[in-house]
């Protein structure tokens, strides 16, 4: 059979060709990632799994003995757990943004990274979702947070931002999982055609009998389009809601109108950084340079630069508003953030989030992968500390100076924090071996365009 004439690029994204020949290089390269695990891989997996186990143990211990084993002290009742919760929710933003928004904007370069970004979204949400429960004083009563019919005829408090969280996070989790899966289906079909044994069974089930007919492709694209439409507002809503946990309180340093945009920008910022932090090594290890090119990384660096500017601006605004308000507790809170006992955290946050990313003004920095990697890591650190400063810093310098506090995380909290990273990596490592790390079809689609361009086709 002869390949159909290449369609004009404008519609290429909408109507796809039949799958490229089975021996396509893309198939081989990308599916190679799913091949036999190396020693290194197994070792790494073992490490993260044991870390998760350890964290699980500490959590059980904490639940039994009481939250006193965490570093909480009057009046600082939110600490590492909520910090980490907000951090991971932030991470979860890159995926949807890349997949949905960039898809709608037809940003081609997204295709190489959207799959892993979506995966990260799902895993990050799965991680974040744990922390609101971990931080509960009586975690075994967590289901009281859900509105369900019960014999007491009791209801939840819809006025509480914490309840909005419950809905925001669960919605986001659902959509991102669906999105991830729908995008996966065609590639699962390819994997199915090559796999043997239990994998064959698994993929056959997951591929939902995908044949790659034009009809199916149409349906698939429509679904993706609609899902993108659904997911786009979520990118904005989820972290806005999370930010209201703080903004809707009266705590000096929390009670600010800019929180929603501020948090969303920060989320995208950290999300992209995390994608880079993860994808750079992956690309290196599995030699995917042909698909995930420096061009991708440069674009993401641009994004990071942009969001870094927004975040930096937000910091400035915060301080300005605190000063301009003339409210003494506000002023004091912010002054002590920068120059009080939490000054280290504050300056880590400012330098990592607002200063270092400025190197991306220079093309050489954007294209120099080690630099990009280092900055992305710094941004992740900085964003974690941003939440630490906002939450712990504000709580420890509130209205009543008689009970200003000092908070230091306990080993339990740090273990569980480490556990959260392990938990996330565990899922990602498994994902590497189970699913195509790059959306094969979308990559091939690009190949076809390239060919089209080469033949001096559409233009």
């Amino acid at each position: 059979m002869t390949p159909p004439p290449p369609p004009p690029a404008s519609v290429a994204a909408m109507i796809r060709p039949m799958p490229a020949p089975a021996d396509s290089r893309a198939n081989r390269d990308i599916l190679a990632v799913m091949g036999r695990p190396t020693i290194g891989y197994v070792a790494l997996l073992a490490l993260v799994v044991s870390t998760v186990g350890w964290a699980l143990g500490t959590f059980v211990y904490q639940t039994y003995v009481g939250l006193g084993v965490a570093g909480y002290s009057h009046p600082i009742f939110w600490g590492v757990y909520i910090v980490t919760f907000v951090f991971w929710v932030g991470i979860a933003h890159a995926g949807t943004l890349i997949s949905a928004i960039l898809y709608l904007f037809r940003a081609k370069w997204r295709n190489a990274i959207n799959r892993s970004a979506e995966a990260m979204t799902v895993f990050a949400v799965a991680t974040a979702g744990l922390f609101p429960l971990i931080h509960l004083g009586r975690v075994f009563k967590f289901y009281w947070l859900l509105p369900y019919p019960n014999q007491r005829a009791l209801w939840v408090n819809f006025k509480s931002p914490l309840l909005w969280d419950v809905f925001a996070i669960s919605t986001y989790a659902t959509i991102s999982i669906v999105f991830f899966y729908v995008g996966l289906v065609p590639d699962l079909a390819i994997a199915r055609d090559r796999a043997t044994g239990w994998r064959k069974v698994l993929y056959s089930i997951l591929a939902l009998g995908w044949q790659g007919t034009t009809k199916q492709w149409k349906a698939h694209n429509r679904t993706v389009l609609h899902l993108s439409g659904l997911a786009t507002p979520l990118v904005l809503s989820v972290h806005s809601v999370v930010s209201w946990d703080f903004a809707s309180s009266i705590v000096p340093g929390w009670h600010a109108t800019i929180f929603a945009p501020y948090f969303v920008a920060g989320a995208i910022f950290s999300g992209f950084a995390m994608v880079l932090t993860v994808m750079i090594p992956v690309r290196r290890i599995y030699g995917l340079e042909r698909y995930i090119t420096d061009y991708h990384f440069e674009n993401m660096s641009r994004f990071i630069l942009l969001t870094s500017l927004i975040v930096g601006y937000a910091y400035a605004t915060e301080y300005f508003v605190a000063w301009y308000s003339g409210v003494e507790p506000e002023r004091t809170a912010f002054w002590l953030r920068a120059f009080g006992s939490y000054w280290i955290s504050t300056w880590i946050m400012i330098s990592c989030n607002a200063f270092f990313p400025q190197v991306f003004w220079f093309k050489r920095a954007r294209t120099h992968i080690p630099t990009v990697f280092v900055v992305s890591v710094l941004v992740n650190i900085g964003m974690w500390f941003e939440r630490y400063v906002i939450i712990v810093g504000s709580l420890s310098r509130e209205y009543n100076p008689a009970v200003w506090g000092q908070y230091t995380p306990s080993w339990v909290e740090l273990s569980i924090l480490a556990g959260s990273f392990a938990w996330f990596s565990m899922f990602f490592l498994i994902f590497l071996k189970l699913f195509p790390v790059i959306a094969i079809n979308e990559v091939k689609e690009l190949e076809i365009h390239e060919r089209a361009h080469a033949n001096g086709g559409a233009h």
């Binding site: 019919p149 019960n150 014999q151 007491r152 005829a153």
Partner: protein, 208 residues
């Protein structure tokens, strides 16, 4: 509700009368409604009640004494508050002291095994360790006096004790228009009653 009417505390005086009449009757060894002699044989009814109260197979936990509420509250019509004194004055429902049991039983029933056990407690001056059947969680404050004074029959929560030889938690379930059914002594069970009677539904009324 007939039972409620019968157990309204306004009838307490009558109950007391009945009880005292019973005592005097027995003292004079007159043929009472249930003839019992000071030293003589207790009635068949009494003996049967005792066996039933001690019946292992019957529902409810085994009590140190095979005491039959059916006999005392039912047959003899002794008013609840006659033994459970203070229930109309206090948050807590009083459990009769060994002394108050002996108040009557020093007079009669000596041939009954249960009364002999009682006698032993009395002689050793040891309290009787009854097994509790109706128990609310520790974080619930239940004012008995308010409910008694409001005319809520003891049976409303404790079941038809006057018909039970051996007391047990009579299962009861209130069904909500929505939501899951509330079993007896569960919060929803209390609340539904409070709703019907327009009593307070303030959390702080019971939980503090």
């Amino acid at each position: 509700m007939a039972s409620r009417a019968r157990w309204r505390p306004s009838r307490r005086a009558l109950g007391l009368l009945g009880a005292s009449a019973l005592v005097t009757a027995s003292l004079l060894a007159l043929p009472g409604p249930e003839p019992v002699g000071a030293q003589g044989q207790s009635s068949a009814a009494a003996r049967e009640a005792q066996t039933l109260a001690g019946d292992e197979s019957a529902p409810g936990p085994k009590q140190p004494i095979p005491f039959s509420h059916a006999l005392h509250a039912g047959t003899y019509q002794i008013e609840c508050l006659y033994c459970h004194t203070g229930t109309d004055r206090s948050m807590a429902a009083g459990v009769p002291s060994v002394e108050s049991c002996m108040g009557c039983h020093s007079q009669f029933g000596a041939d009954l095994e249960g009364v002999q056990i009682l006698q032993r407690y009395w002689d050793e001056k040891k309290p009787i360790e009854w097994v509790q059947i109706h128990r609310l969680p520790e974080h619930v404050q239940f004012p008995h006096h308010r409910h008694v004074k409001a005319g809520v029959a003891c049976q409303t929560c404790h079941g038809p004790v006057q018909e039970m030889h051996k007391v047990y938690l009579v299962p009861d379930t209130k069904w909500w228009p929505w939501g899951t059914p509330a079993r007896k002594l569960e919060m929803g069970w209390c609340i539904s009653c409070h709703r019907e009677n327009e009593a307070t539904q303030d959390c702080f009324a019971c939980h503090y």
